[in-house]
């Protein structure tokens, strides 16, 4: 790959990442990947009325509460990020 090509490909990729939150790339860490997945899942649950009803019945909470807690959990679904190695 010529340097020029790499350059354009990268900017395009960056653009895509900025535009489409949740798009993966080669250097994605496991944490980022799983966090994205959880956020996608949680927002999908919130977005599908049958799934919120289902969870509300299973958990004995109101649908409004389930939706609220799911959205709250999107902030950090998989705990804090791992510490980066200082090398």
């Amino acid at each position: 790959m010529s340097s020029e090509l790499r350059y354009t490909a990268n900017t395009q990729l960056e653009h895509l990442h900025a535009r489409y939150t949740g798009t993966g790339h080669a250097d994605l860490t496991k944490y980022d990947w799983v966090t994205h997945q959880h956020r996608d899942t949680l927002s999908s649950i919130v977005g599908h009325p049958t799934l919120t009803s289902y969870l509300a019945i299973a958990d004995g909470e109101s649908i409004g509460r389930v939706r609220f807690e799911m959205t709250e959990r999107m902030l950090q679904p998989c705990g804090p990020p791992p510490r980066k190695d200082e090398d």
């Binding site: 977005g47 019945i57 004995g60």
Partner: protein
């Protein structure tokens, strides 16, 4: 295999409701979203009843709805946010009675995605713009306006995105005519994603951000952003803006931020006000548990406004704001009333509150008062330091109220809803019923119910009275043409006629001019003020002054049958001759000079009603003994000439011509139908061409075992036909389409319309010697529901093989069972607390039960007698145990004695799934199944989510393990185990030595038990992971199953593999075979796949019509009942699939979702045709209908007939 999907009962859950003047009339209407369906409801202000105007499938998932109105307009539009990646503006067109898509703007990919808008909608109160938002980042603003021709226009979208922000809610602010302003509740996750210490996460702030749409510059700016309570979940618009005429402010503008335990008033650069959400003064209330507001509504009246907020317990709070100009002085909150927890609240200007319940029936309440001058404690922000904001991060002291029965509201109407259906069975348990009933376990918590669904219309009986003999016919008649109500009831007996007059009482009268010594064949109010009686010897024309003109039958002949309308009379003589009379302008009945010889005994006659403004109806239908029906002209040019003839398969017993509206045939005018009832119980319905009198488009339907009788009646001012056989059916027009539904009522021998002051739209019928007067209150209803209340959320139920009882397990998480409650009260009493006994006696079905911490369960086993519709016995479970599965098992170690095994678990946590200990409770049946006696409890290491009787022993799915137990003296004894399942076994089904295992996440596994080696082996599974929710075996090698995402699919095992496994005596072959794709050695093949759109909770293979084919019936969580019908021939498959293709292009989804991608949401749709889409063919405009029919090389009638055949043949609906 190719299947045809048909919805019998559409979903009844309401996910959102909006109110507005959608038809542009002065009356307000409600649009409710059923998730995949939109319905327009119209409340009747006088009676307080809700009626459905239209309902249509949208073939997509509706996520948000908003109503808006352009400034100065009188009509509201509905904006729909869905999973189509498009914003859609719908208009209700009252002329065609349909939703019309005005605008459809694409902005993103389809699917309910994180950053594709559609989740939230907010409109500017002045109708100038709309904001549509995703759960993260994306917000789009569209400007709405009108063009020169006053049509609604929509702009291209303006972005108001904020990267890495999670959006909790958005709302449009009321700013009058200043630039539109939107408020959003957002949390930014950039920092917490970077901070490994978790500190950023703990300090993450929830921001209340204002976005301003600058109409001049045509762009959106972030105007203001301030942190608010971190547990805020909902925003409510506060009125604002100035009235143009005076300088008064409508309100202070801004938003109410609903947080856990608090309500905050907030506006840019203004003082905040905070009040606590009052809590119930209940002795068992957990003070540590937060309360959130789940739904809210603001209502503006002249010069005032208030809010109704509803907590997750169902308590309504009235919130008011005291303001001076645009400055808030106080925010006040007080308890209002308690209603079921709602997904949406709507206040109508006529003084009604519509509560769209999140589960169960929906309610319409009428406001009795607004809670202004009662003794409820009111909490004002002025009674707290700095209006409650002195220390905004710490909670305010708890405020309390005492819940009580309805005080400000009164129930006006109830809409039945099956939502949620958690389990079902299809069986025929009722005596004298030839079709099965659907038994469903519905509802949530204390409002749960067990419902029996029967196909048919509900009938309300108002009078039932015994008669001296057995009449063979009944009529009612007015005395004069313009009378509003009927005056006489005429009963015909074998040897006489009885006339009753309808007044304050119903009593016999003599002086009516009717002949009482002979039976009657027909009664008619004729001309302006005369009456007519046809009896075997002649016709009596009773004039207004009681003079009688009598026409006598020639010697030696009698009248065998007659038909009449307001101007015409036709009688058939025993000599097979027809005599025709017509009323002339002087009110004289004149006989036509010729008599028509038919050549075969006439069995039935019918003429239609005289069309408005005409002299006569031109056609007469004559049914003869030679199995023919002839259409005879009554036109003066060609009187009594035979026009057309139709041959029948049996002698006719009744004919009825009626003009009824059926939009599938003719949108504007009623169609003339000739209904022919045969002696073998079959009904033929043909269309009579009004121009040439030819009979076309014959449809047949089997009604019952007795000869059919047909009666023309009036239902809700429209003509309808009662068809009586061994069941009574009603053929009527509802929402412009023809319906044919049985009445759930005693078999009638004869019936007629009945109209009196007390029952203006009634029917009168005779059953044996009993006279009954009744009404059909709810037209359009297909399934009648009879409910038995339950205590907790039902989980599963089963039937007993020999007795008629159902055994049902119910349980609620986060609710303390009765033993737990008692214990807690004891503790409180011992601690010296005084206990408010009154609070403990509040009915749980209204107020719910106090919430307990996670891991607390209330559960019971209930025995139900479905025929008597009552609970026979209830066995509560103690020790915080909850029941999850049950089965009736015949243990061969006990000579096949039947036992009930219930899988329970103690201290169960839902997520992550865990328990202290699981149990298998073994019960013995006592009192012929009406009681249970606990034999023993067997401990298990995990929750037994599935149990099943298997070859005289018990198969149990305990967590990841499948085990077989045999019965012992003190315990069940484990015989064999297979622990190789992926997640948890949730369903078991068996045939022979094969067990079909449904795994929670990993689809369906085929296992086999090999007794010689005592091995339990999995030999086949599915190649795709699926979150199974219900499984049934279609045949030995085929399973139909559903998953959590709304799919139904059919998998089949290769018969060769099946034989190979069955032929292997020890299972050694399977044991040593190599696994495939990290699973079993064999894979099943996917045959059919379809996305229903509702979470399917049970599937059954049943036959719904007597002698009909077997179909797959499923029930959905949101209340759907549907069927999958296998096609019989390749031609049908080709025909219907092509029709479906055409329908996809013609009938776009109302929310803009591509139909093919909706039905193939997760996996492409395979070998299933969407019958709901095909059936909308009937609603297409005539030109499109014929174009599609032309493409298919059929006529429109043939296409409609095929669709009806598929529906009726499979379901009888």
């Amino acid at each position: 295999m190719h299947l045809y999907n048909l919805t019998l009962q559409p979903p009844s859950a309401v996910t959102q409701a909006i109110v507005g003047n959608f038809s542009g009339a002065r009356q307000q209407e409600i649009i409710v979203s059923h998730g995949t369906r939109l319905e327009l409801l119209r409340p009747d202000v006088q009676t307080g009843k809700l009626s459905t105007v239209i309902a249509s499938d949208v073939f997509g998932s509706i996520r948000s709805l908003a109503a808006f109105r352009l400034t100065g307009s009188t009509k509201d539009y509905a904006i729909v946010g869905s999973d189509s990646g498009r914003i859609v503006i719908l208009d209700y067109d009252p002329k065609t009675s349909s939703f019309v898509k005005l605008h459809q703007e694409t902005f993103g990919k389809s699917g309910a995605r994180r950053i594709v808008p559609g989740q939230y909608l907010a409109t500017d109160p002045k109708g100038r713009s709309v904001m549509i938002s995703a759960t993260e980042k994306a917000k789009l603003v569209y400007i709405l306006n009108r063009d020169a021709a006053a049509n609604l226009t929509i702009s291209s979208p303006l972005e108001a995105h904020k990267n890495s922000a999670i959006i909790h809610h958005i709302v449009g602010l009321d700013v009058g005519f200043e630039n539109p302003l939107y408020a959003a509740l957002e949390v930014d996750y950039t920092e917490s994603d970077q901070d490994p210490t978790g500190e950023a996460f703990n300090n993450a702030e929830k921001m209340l951000t204002y976005y301003e749409l600058d109409l001049g510059l045509n762009h959106v700016v972030r105007k203001w952003s301030e942190p608010t309570d971190p547990r805020a979940n909902l925003l409510v618009q506060v009125p604002g803006g100035q009235i143009a005429s005076s300088d008064r402010f409508d309100g202070p503008s801004g938003v109410l931020v609903c947080c856990e335990d608090h309500i905050i008033y907030r506006h840019m650069d203004r003082q905040q006000h905070r009040v606590p959400i009052p809590r119930r003064q209940h002795p068992l209330e957990d003070p540590g548990r937060g309360i959130i507001i789940v739904s809210a509504v603001m209502h503006k009246m002249k010069g005032a406004f208030f809010f109704l907020l509803q907590s997750e317990d169902g308590d309504l709070y009235k919130v008011t704001i005291e303001h001076e100009e645009d400055e808030v002085r106080a925010l006040k909150i007080k308890y209002f009333d308690t209603v079921p927890v709602a997904s949406s609240l709507c206040i109508l200007k006529s003084g009604f509150l519509f509560v769209a319940s999140e589960f169960g029936n929906h309610y319409l309440y009428q406001f009795q008062k607004l809670g202004d001058d009662d003794n409820e404690p009111e909490f004002s922000s002025t009674s707290y330091p700095s209006f409650g904001m002195a220390n905004s991060s710490s909670p305010l002291p708890h405020a309390h109220f005492r819940p009580r029965g309805l005080d400000n509201l009164a129930l006006a109407d109830e809409l039945e809803s099956l939502d949620p259906i958690l389990d079902s069975k299809v069986m025929n348990l009722l005596p004298n019923s030839d079709t099965p009933q659907i038994f469903t376990a519905c509802g949530r918590g204390a409002r749960s119910s067990f419902r029996m669904l029967r196909h048919g219309l509900d009938v309300e009986e108002s009078v039932s009275s015994e008669l001296p003999g057995i009449p063979n016919a009944v009529w009612t008649t007015k005395r004069r043409e313009d009378d509003p109500f009927d005056s006489y009831i005429i009963l015909s007996f074998v040897n006489g006629t009885l006339v009753l007059s309808i007044g304050e009482t119903i009593e016999e009268v003599q002086d009516t001019g009717f002949l009482s010594s002979a039976p009657t064949l027909a009664v008619q109010q004729i001309g302006a003020d005369a009456l007519l009686q046809v009896h075997p010897q002649g016709i009596r024309h009773v004039l207004a002054d009681h003079r009688v003109n009598e026409w006598r039958v020639p010697q030696g002949k009698t009248i065998v049958t007659a038909t009449t309308n307001k101007r015409q009379v036709v009688v058939a003589l025993s000599s097979a001759e027809l005599v025709y009379f017509e009323l002339d302008l002087d009110g004289q009945l004149n006989e036509y000079q010729d008599r028509k010889a038919m050549g075969s005994t006439v069995l039935a006659l019918s003429v239609a009603e005289v069309p408005e403004g005409r002299q006569r109806t031109p056609y007469l239908a004559v049914g003869c003994e030679d199995q023919t029906v002839r259409i005879i002209s009554l036109d003066p040019e060609s009187t009594l000439e035979i026009i057309s003839l139709q041959a029948l398969t049996a002698p006719p017993s009744a004919i009825c011509i009626a003009d009824m509206l059926d939009a599938s045939i003719n949108k504007t005018q009623p169609t003339m139908f000739v209904n022919i009832g045969l002696q073998n119980g079959v009904l033929l319905r043909t269309v009579l061409d009004p121009v040439n009198g030819q009979l076309t488009d014959t449809r047949t339907r089997f009604l019952g075992t007795r000869p059919v009788r047909l009666i023309r009646v009036t239902i809700q001012k429209n003509p309808a036909i009662l068809a009586l056989s061994s069941r009574s059916w009603l053929n009527y027009t509802h929402q412009n389409l023809m319906h044919f539904t049985p009445l759930i009522f005693e078999n009638l021998d004869y019936a007629w319309s009945f109209s009196a002051e007390l029952s203006p739209e009634g029917l009168i019928g005779i059953a044996g010697s009993v006279l009954r007067i009744f009404q059909v209150p709810k037209l359009g209803m297909k399934l009648k529901q009879d409910a038995i209340p339950l205590s907790y959320t039902p989980r599963k139920f089963i039937s007993h093989p020999t007795n008629r009882y159902f055994y049902l397990i119910e349980g609620d998480h986060r609710v303390a069972g009765e033993p737990g409650v008692e214990k807690r009260l004891q503790e409180l009493r011992q601690a010296g607390k005084s206990i408010d006994e009154e609070m403990l006696e509040l009915p749980a079905e209204v107020f719910g039960r106090p919430k307990a911490p996670a891991g607390t369960w209330a559960s019971a086993i209930r025995i139900i007698d479905p025929v008597e519709a009552k609970t026979v016995a209830m066995i509560p479970l103690d020790n915080n145990e909850a029941a999850f599965s049950l089965a009736v098992v015949s243990f061969s170690a006990r000579e096949g004695e039947l036992h009930l095994v219930v899988g329970t678990a103690a201290d169960t946590l839902v997520s992550p799934r865990s328990c202290k200990s699981g149990y298998l409770r073994t019960y013995k049946f006592t009192d012929d199944g009406a009681g249970l006696e606990l034999l023993h409890k067997t401990e298990t290491d995990d929750v037994p989510l599935a149990v099943l009787g298997f070859q005289g022993r018990l198969a149990a799915g305990v967590g990841k393990a499948l085990r077989i137990y045999d019965i012992g003296k003190k315990k069940l004894l484990r015989k064999v185990e297979n622990k190789a399942f992926a997640t948890a076994i949730i369903s078991l089904t068996t045939q022979g030595s094969r067990i079909i295992v449904g795994d929670m996440q990993e689809s369906v596994h085929f296992a086999v038990y090999k007794p010689p080696e005592n091995r339990l082996l999995v030999f086949a599974d599915d190649s795709s992971p699926r979150w199974i929710s219900a499984v049934t075996m279609v045949d030995y090698n085929t399973v139909a199953a559903s998953d959590r995402f709304g799919n139904v699919f059919v998998n089949r095992l290769d018969p060769k593999v099946s034989d190979q496994v069955d032929d292997d005596p020890t299972g050694a072959g399977i044991l040593h075979e190599k696994g495939q794709l990290m699973g079993a050695p064999h894979k099943t093949k996917l045959l059919c796949h379809f996305h229903v759109g509702d979470l399917v909770t049970s599937i059954h293979k049943v036959s719904l019509v007597a002698g009909g084919r077997e179909v797959l019936l499923y029930t959905g969580l949101h209340g759907t009942v549907g069927i999958l019908v296998p096609f019989v021939s390749k031609e049908d498959v080709d025909f219907i699939s092509t029709l479906e293709q055409h329908m996809r292009t013609e009938q776009g989804s109302l929310v803009g979702r591509d139909h093919l991608s909706w039905r193939g949401y997760y996996t492409p749709v395979k070998a299933v045709v969407d019958g709901d889409l095909c059936e909308t063919y009937a609603r297409l405009p005539g030109s499109k209908q014929s174009a599609i029919a032309g493409e298919l090389d059929r006529t429109v009638g043939e296409v409609l007939k095929k669709l009806e055949q598929l529906r009726v043949g499979a379901s009888g609906f």
